[in-house]
Symmetry: C2
Subunit: 204 residues, 2 copies
Amino acid sequence: MSIGTLFIVSAPSGAGKTSLVTALRESLEGFTVSVSHTTRTQRPGEVHGRDYFFVDHAEFERMIAADGFLEHARVFDNYYGTARTTVETALSEGQDVLLEIDWQGARQIRSLMPDSISIFILPPSRRTLEERLKARGQDDPDTIARRMRDAISEMSHYSEYDYLVVNDDFDRAVAELRSIVIASRLRTRRQFEACKDLIAGLLA
Amino acid sequence: MSIGTLFIVSAPSGAGKTSLVTALRESLEGFTVSVSHTTRTQRPGEVHGRDYFFVDHAEFERMIAADGFLEHARVFDNYYGTARTTVETALSEGQDVLLEIDWQGARQIRSLMPDSISIFILPPSRRTLEERLKARGQDDPDTIARRMRDAISEMSHYSEYDYLVVNDDFDRAVAELRSIVIASRLRTRRQFEACKDLIAGLLA
């Protein structure tokens, strides 16, 4: 049984991460995007179990106490976390698993799973980032300023990541993410399992 | 000035390495295939400076004495080696450089250049390998048996390499090599140079 790779993808709001990850998932087999738990309010159009597992504070804290999270963080008044069982089951079945988390979660995962591969996505320019943050329909200047500060704070951690992808041309960025995943599947320690019979035959 | 990556590609005779590397080079910019020096006899169709630099034993040994090789080896009665200056100049100009060498050369390069990326190419089956070794127009059974022993000896070192590519479907194998090279260009320490201005603007 082969063992999958855990990919961590982080980006500031407005970098286009979710669209990229959706396109990546559609273009590759053997790939699971992990669904996080959160205590924040479900937005219109969001689906429990697809976008997030929406739980209340008491349930989230019970899971923390039971060591049920690979990583979790409190952002403003809400918890966000990655349940341990979902990820570990998929990896042991040979699936690659992708987590969309922030730099704090990425740090926690890296220390627990040093073989994970982390990718940071940057927007193509400051101007594009500002436009995307304004286009979210919340034009209150304080909210926009806070989103911008959060984005800069998130981006200041880019150098902790293994790979850096710029979302300038969408299709190229998807192709680059694909290359990172495909290359990871060609690593010798991963291929050793997949090619066991071939290698035995060649060296006989 | 960005710094290129050194790729080491090894394979047994009959794995299709040279055709793969030619196709890879044609499909990617910024990529140099290093031409080795050798003392072996030039074969019909081979071009000095394209396939090899053909030199005599005295010249080769003079270069060894002058520390002119990144790696060199004696195979049967002939020397093969990679000249230091060619590689170092291309890398410092930001070119990726690909070396086609055997496992002994790969070991020498790895110890000198630990950031190099090594790839081993396997043929798709024992039967294909045998057919390709026979198809070289030298049907003397002893020669074929010796080539087979050499191939198995070379393949026994596959686990020392970072990546393992199986040349089963030619186009897929080329795409896999491309993915390894593209992913290497997305590594954060490499992108840091390429994206310096973007990052400065985003974090300002």
